[in-house]
């Protein structure tokens, strides 16, 4: 091969691969290539267990919530936005499972990101979520948690350690099983 063909190969292949990767990623974010990743498939992620980063949220509808105040409970932190179709799709499931676990040491915290606050308020009214939801306007919480797409859920144990991450929309069963597993049942 000539030097020129080597350059074609050595430069062209990685560049084509990069473009292909970005194209694929744009397609796989479900018709929202322009924006923010929507997780449309359920994926479980692993990471090294460690303490969950504390945060404080201004709640939609008033008040504030501090993660560390929920010590002793299994906490599910859900990152969502009103414009995200899978978030809307799973909202009824989240509401039902939350009702089921009333009276047990379980808490849900919704974190609205990359969104307009007005849309989020309407979303919550429409879906009737009764658990606390806050607005992460500056994206600090999302960055702390390394959120890459929505919906994305982080599960935190009673001792405050970050245990699990589930990306993509959940079914009732998966959510129920996950919480039961973390409750040690």
């Amino acid at each position: 091969m000539t030097k020129r063909s080597w350059i074609v190969l050595g430069g062209g292949v990685p560049l084509a691969a990069l473009i292909a990767l970005l194209t694929w990623a744009s397609i796989s974010t479900g018709g929202n290539p322009g924006g923010l990743a929507v997780n449309s498939d359920l994926v479980e992620s692993r990471f090294e267990a460690g303490p969950a980063m504390d945060f404080e949220l201004d709640l939609i509808g008033g008040g504030t919530l501090k993660l560390s105040d929920l010590r002793g409970k299994v906490v599910m932190v859900d990152f969502w936005a009103a414009w995200c179709p899978p978030c809307r799709a799973e909202a009824p499931a989240l509401a039902r499972v939350y009702e089921e676990f009333q009276g047990q040491p379980v808490e849900f915290v919704g974190v609205d990101i990359w969104d307009n606050i007005g849309d989020a308020e309407i979303f919550l009214l429409q879906e009737g979520q009764s658990y606390p939801n806050g607005f992460d306007a500056s994206g600090v919480v999302a960055i702390d948690y390394g959120v890459r797409g929505i919906p994305e859920k982080y599960f935190i144990g009673p001792d405050g350690s970050l245990l699990k991450k589930l990306s993509g929309p959940l079914t009732e069963t998966v959510l129920r099983d996950t919480i039961n597993e973390l409750l040690g049942r």
Partner: protein, 665 residues
């Protein structure tokens, strides 16, 4: 105003498209008249865009909420000075801003293009105008800032409070201008390739515009860090956020380019390499713009949900593939005038510097796309966080700083061992002495010691050069030292301006190392009257004053700072709560000294009057923010036009005497 604005936007689009086609057609059909009219169309497009820009500004000032963009990004309470920020707060306005900047830069670049480049200039115009056509088409069709609402709202939504900070007046526009500015040197490179002029005709314009983009990107990055530091209340300034990386990578590419282009300017070498570098920088800039318009990696910087991602992805693909094809086509013509004489030469140092910069860029790129790759290969997505970048890029950056000390001291062509030893000995002694002193003072973090040592090495090298040059002028002409020093710098601006820029990089290094290795952080909740101790400081919280202010409630907490029982200062930290956004913006109280910053941010105001504070002591970060102005001064000196003279030929393998350059004039 919206009609005038929209109309000028479409006129500019038509002119840019005509200019693109006209330049190429005129060149191919050898019609100077056509080429000239295409060039005039380019100037006219710039004027039309100025009119469009002015229309949008007037719409903001006259509170014309019928225009959707104005309603979405301002309100009646917004002070007029924030019009500048509101202008680029969303996709539509920022695209218009980018187009306007590109058209102005294009006009100046083509107008000032050197005579010897004239043959290839129509192609350069075409590349510039094709890019402008793209931006204008997207703006006009998909994100038109002059689109009207079907009704006229009484008030707008208001400006995002995070943007109402001094840093936001410069950070986004500087970065956007820097990213788009890379198009200019790129267009000169492409123009010379397309015309088959593969010599050194494009080098001067490429260097000047490369440096302009460089300083815009660098100041944009620094200002963004400063903004994050003072207002986000995280206490840090750099997060390896995908969009930060997207601006950082093209900066690395263009840094490599402005060094390497010097070699071509002086020695006619690295011709192919410079074309590759400017293409890489341009590709990375396109990647940065793609990420910013909503790439597939979300971040705090994304402009929000939009359909622009596809268009910018296409632009990225075309912007990489077509230049690559042109490069392959012209490859046989790209022969350097000379070969590398020795690995111990300034040319070789530049080459290694380039490779290191590219390595850092590709490590960063890899970290940015790795989550996507991991999703391909398994069900789990693995994100790459700060430790990865720190561990891999940290040593590469240190190596780069080492080269920054060596490169300027090593002669062109070939260094003799003896002369090298003579020039490198003083800075090496400076570096080692610093390490020894710091170690004896009890500093034992190896990486930090090494970094400080290298910083001292670079600094002593530069001071030595200045001293030697000044002394020889003083001796030769009897000028006093101050005059001799100023004249020394003015006599060879690219070189001495470059030294000043290098000093600013050393200052940035000090800030990074200081905060990465020696920062202390405490989170405390204090009642009025209570005190706490952080580092050497004792802090007494006096109380909070709450003031409703139109669109927000302002909480100002006053804290007294004592050290060794002496009151140093009384500082005020601010937390603004915006009910309509349900968000707070903090402004940290920062007591800044060259030694260390005391950084106090009220992270929460409790109903009972207690306040949660995050308090940090950040050593040496002061240097980082001072580096910005120093860097600009250095760049301006390096760019300041010098009397035209024949290119300085590089004499035999003998080191230049310091001081006045042997000029060919």
């Amino acid at each position: 105003m919206s009609e005038l604005g929209a109309l000028s936007l479409w006129i500019a689009l038509a002119l840019a498209a005509y200019s693109t086609v006209g330049s190429v057609a005129g060149k191919l059909r050898l019609s100077p008249a056509l080429v000239e009219s295409a060039q005039s169309a380019m100037y006219a497009a710039g004027l039309a865009l100025l009119v469009a820009t002015l229309s949008l500004v007037i719409a903001f000032i006259s509170r014309d909420f019928e225009i959707a963009y104005v309603a979405a990004h301002s309100d009646l309470a917004m002070p007029y000075r924030f019009t500048w920020v509101a202008f680029y707060a969303g996709n539509e306005g920022s695209l218009l801003y980018i187009a306007t900047v590109l058209s102005i830069m294009s006009a100046i670049a083509v107008w000032r293009a050197p005579e010897k480049f004239k043959d290839a200039l129509p192609y350069t115009t075409a590349v510039l105008m094709l890019t402008l056509t793209f931006f204008l088409a997207v703006t006009a069709v998909m994100a038109n800032p002059f689109d009207k609402l079907s009704f006229v709202p009484l008030d707008g939504d208001g400006i995002n409070p995070l943007l109402t900070h001094f840093g936001m007046f410069f950070h986004p526009p500087a970065l956007m201008a820097g990213l788009i500015g890379i198009t200019v040197p790129f267009a000169f490179a492409m123009g010379s390739l397309l015309a088959g002029k593969t010599g050194d005709e494009w080098v001067d314009a490429g260097r000047v515009w490369g440096m302009i983009s460089w300083v815009l990107l660098a100041s944009g990055l620094l200002l963004g860090s400063w903004w994050a530091y003072t207002i986000l209340g995280w206490g840090g300034f750099w997060f390896w956020d995908p969009v930060e990386n997207a601006a950082f990578m093209p900066w690395l590419g263009i840094t490599a380019f402005i060094h390497s282009i010097m070699v071509q300017k002086r020695r006619g070498m690295f011709r192919m390499w410079n074309i590759i570098l400017i293409n890489v920088a341009f590709g990375l800039a396109l990647y940065g713009m793609f990420m910013n318009r909503g790439g597939s990696v979300p971040s705090v910087h994304s402009f929000g949900a939009s359909q622009l991602g596809w268009i910018f992805l296409l632009f990225l693909a075309v912007g990489i593939a077509v230049p690559f094809a042109i490069f392959i086509w012209r490859y046989p013509l790209l022969k350097s005038a000379q070969n590398l004489d020795s690995m111990l030469s300034r040319e070789a140092a530049f080459l290694v510097n380039n490779l290191l910069l590219l390595a850092i860029a590709f490590v960063t790129l890899w970290g940015t796309v790795y989550p996507l790759v991991s999703r391909l290969t398994s069900d789990t997505e693995i994100t790459v966080a700060r430790p990865f970048y720190d561990q891999v890029n940290g040593p590469l950056m240190l190596a780069l700083i080492f080269l920054m000390g060596v490169g300027p001291l090593i002669p062109w062509r070939k260094a003799g061992m003896a002369s090298l030893r003579k020039t490198l000995l003083p800075p090496a002694v400076g570096g080692l002495a610093t390490v020894a002193i710091l170690a004896s003072l009890g500093l034992h973090k190896e990486f930090a010691l090494l970094a400080f040592g290298l910083a001292a090495f670079v600094t002593s090298g530069i001071l030595m050069e200045w001293y030697r040059g000044t002394r020889s002028r003083h001796r030769g002409s009897g000028e006093n030292y101050a005059t001799a020093f100023l004249r020394l710098i003015m006599a060879n601006r690219p070189r001495y301006g470059g030294y000043i820029v290098h000093l600013s990089i050393v200052m940035v290094t000090l800030g990074i190392v200081g905060t990465s290795f020696f920062s202390t952080q405490r989170d405390v909740v204090l009642s009025p009257g209570e005190s706490t101790v952080v580092g050497d400081y004792e802090l007494v919280f006096l109380g909070t004053v709450e003031t409703p202010k139109g669109n927000r409630t302002e909480f100002i907490s006053t804290v007294q700072v004592f050290r060794d029982g002496d009151l140093l200062e009384t500082v005020r930290a601010k937390r603004d709560f915006y009910p309509s956004f349900n968000m707070a913006a903090t402004t940290a109280a920062i007591r800044s000294t060259p030694v260390e910053d005391l950084y106090i941010v009220p992270s929460e105001n409790l109903p009972d009057g207690r306040v949660g504070f995050r308090i940090l002591v950040n050593p040496l970060i002061w240097w980082m923010w001072v580096a910005g102005p120093v860097m600009m001064v250095g760049t301006v000196i390096a760019l300041w036009p010098q009397k035209i003279r024949a290119p300085v030929p590089v004499p035999g393998p003998r080191r230049f005497a310091s001081g006045p350059r042997p000029s060919a004039a």
